[in-house]
């Protein structure tokens, strides 16, 4: 306690120097604290949003189905479907995985759409539980259908013409589609578009008429599937960054229980989400690293100055019996206290900011950010990130002043006394 008191007195003595160290530590700690928590939230938010907006983070499906299709979508036959028992078993396992935030069964198939002169156009379609699908972020259309009546075919041809000409798919427009039937053939159905994304910034031409979503139960009823069957089970992760370890666990489970099935990562989006989050994290880590480096540099420099200014004092202390380690401890403790005080204030300010943002939320109207993080963004605290940040600053607090302090401890007593 007495040494601590001495250190505190010395800190006050170097008022401006102490304040500079504290200020740098404050800014570094504050920004790092806020960045780390925000990035974590954005990563999780992105993971959740993109997965639900598109197609989940992973798919459990028949091994043959996946290997037979190299373009990401496939023609589905009833024989490729998972049995209700398989679906229940997989869902039971996924329910035990803390990282898995949701899962559902889905039918994926290639439909055929008729245009003018009965021209056929292939498209990818999915039947799934539309209540769990985030329609705000899909670039696909969802639809409902029924058996076609003969007089409706002209209206369908007009819709297709409209799409082919203007690349627009109007809500309410109808198309004739060939859909897979339970007996392995096709049934023709009239499909009416009931909703879709309102593009603001993304050019529709680049996406085209990529696919269509159907409500799973309605699709079964429409095409004649009587049993609750699905071609695959898709799953969502609370955080896309956990994908590798979760998939490994699922693979182990499938190898033991359902060796005929396989789990695959969503081949397009998951790596992209991962890279977006990684890129964002790296950028912020770089900023944090620069702040930490400046902090270290200043602390080293200012501690070195303090030692040079107090050579005589070091000599006196050594003469009256203080050891080298006592001197090192004294100056390290001084630097540590200055940085720790700044860091504590920085963390406190960061805590207040995150708490306020958590309460009020971040509203944004910029299309890009809305697209990335959604309209309502409510940052929260992440203990692991806070601990990591605290550990980094603790390391800086101890090691930055330690090395100049070490030099102070090594001073020869006579030389230190002479340079008073």
């Amino acid at each position: 306690m007495e040494r601590l008191g001495l250190c505190l007195r010395n800190l006050r003595r170097h008022g401006w120097r102490t304040r500079i160290i504290m200020l740098i530590a404050f800014f570094g700690a504050f920004l790092t604290f806020v960045f780390e928590n925000l990035v974590e939230d954005i990563a999780v938010k992105q993971s959740d949003m993109f997965a639900r907006g598109f197609s989940g983070h992973f798919r459990v499906l028949d091994r043959d189905v996946e290997t037979r299709n190299s373009f990401g979508h496939y023609y589905c036959e009833p024989a490729d479907m998972l049995s209700p028992e398989q679906v229940a078993s997989i869902q039971g396992f996924l329910a035990t995985q803390p990282e898995v935030s949701g899962y559902e069964e889905r039918i994926v198939f290639t439909g055929v759409l008729y245009g003018a002169q009965d021209e056929e156009h292939g498209f990818m379609a999915m039947a799934m539980d539309m209540d769990r699908f985030d329609r705000n972020f899909t670039d696909l259309y969802y639809a409902e259908g029924r058996p076609i009546l003969g007089a409706e075919s002209d209206a369908c041809a007009a819709s297709w013409y409209e799409y082919a000409e203007h690349k627009t798919v109007a809500v309410g427009s109808s198309y004739v589609m060939l859909l897979p039937s339970p007996d392995g053939g096709f049934v023709d159905r009239l499909v009416t578009v009931t909703g879709g994304i309102d593009y603001k910034s993304l050019p529709k031409e680049s996406l085209g008429f990529g696919g269509m979503f159907f409500d799973l139960a309605a699709f079964r009823a429409m095409t004649g599937y009587r049993r609750a069957m699905a071609t695959e089970v898709i799953g969502f992760l609370a955080d896309a960054r956990t994908e590798k370890r979760v998939l490994e666990r699922i693979r182990t489970f499938l190898a033991a229980e359902h060796p005929e099935l396989q789990v695959v990562s969503w081949r397009y989006y998951a790596p992209i989400f991962g890279e977006i989050v990684l890129g964002f994290s790296v950028a912020l880590k770089f900023v944090e690293a620069v702040l930490l480096f400046i902090c270290v540099l200043l602390v080293v420099k200012l501690t070195a100055f303090a030692i040079i200014e107090r050579y005589g004092e070091i000599g006196t202390l050594r003469a009256i019996g203080f050891g080298r380690s006592d001197i090192v401890l004294l100056f390290t403790l001084e630097g540590f206290l200055a940085i720790a005080a700044g860091v504590a204030i920085g963390f406190a300010a960061g805590t207040v900011l995150i708490a306020v943002l958590h309460r009020t939320g971040i509203a944004n109207s910029l299309t890009f950010f809305e697209y990335v993080i959604g309209k309502g963004f409510f940052p929260s605290f992440h203990p692991q990130k806070i601990l990591q940040t605290a550990a980094a600053f603790l390391g800086v607090s101890v090691f930055a002043p330690f090395f100049p302090a070490l030099a102070g401890g090594r001073l020869a007593i006579v030389r230190a006394l002479e340079r008073r």
């Binding site: 007495e2 008191g5 001495l6 005589g312 004092e313 050594r318 003469a319 009256i320 006579v414």
Partner: protein, 224 residues
Amino acid sequence: MNGIQVTALSKNYQLGRTVVHALRDVSLEVDSGSFACIAGPSGSGKTTLLNLIGLVDEPTSGSIRIGEEDVRRLDDAARTRYRSRHLGFIFQSFNLLPVLTVFENVRLPLLLHRELPVREKQERVAELIEAVGLADHARHKPFELSGGQRQRVAIARALVTHPKLVLADEPTANLDSETGAEVLELMQRINRERHTTFVFSTHDPRIMERAGRIVRLRDGRVEA
């Protein structure tokens, strides 16, 4: 402790290509409890000799015995421990820590004496501050004191660990003659009352007169 025994002590400094012989073959003895003065002009080697006896510097050759201990054999950690346990230092420029009060400056060496109860530490410090006549200034910082008062604080600090030997390097050099005499009188009184061995350096003949034993140095050698 049977005083100090210095035998054939030499100290050379290397200044570039030049070797400076600060002390040459110095031998002397100082009895325990004595009030000894190392006298000589500037550059005669007084401070060097005190530094060597005080274990803050290492001789080039020769031996130093303090009491029964051959202190030249001690390693750095043992020398540090020895200084904190058995030696007291008084410097020409007082060397007080400006951030500490009189009380805290005097208590400073006791930071290293963890075996002492806090209460005993407090009592020792209070007693010494009283003994050097600064009881009313215990809470003052060094810059609030006169030169003589600062040196008295330094004396109290040197004595707080109850050392057998106090080394004072020109303790009156930065004081006017009257204050210097007072400080010396204080040191003498403590020497008489506590039987603490004092070895101090000076080049002032009036100060030398008060010493019980005088060792004269010139050009790094003891004068006959």
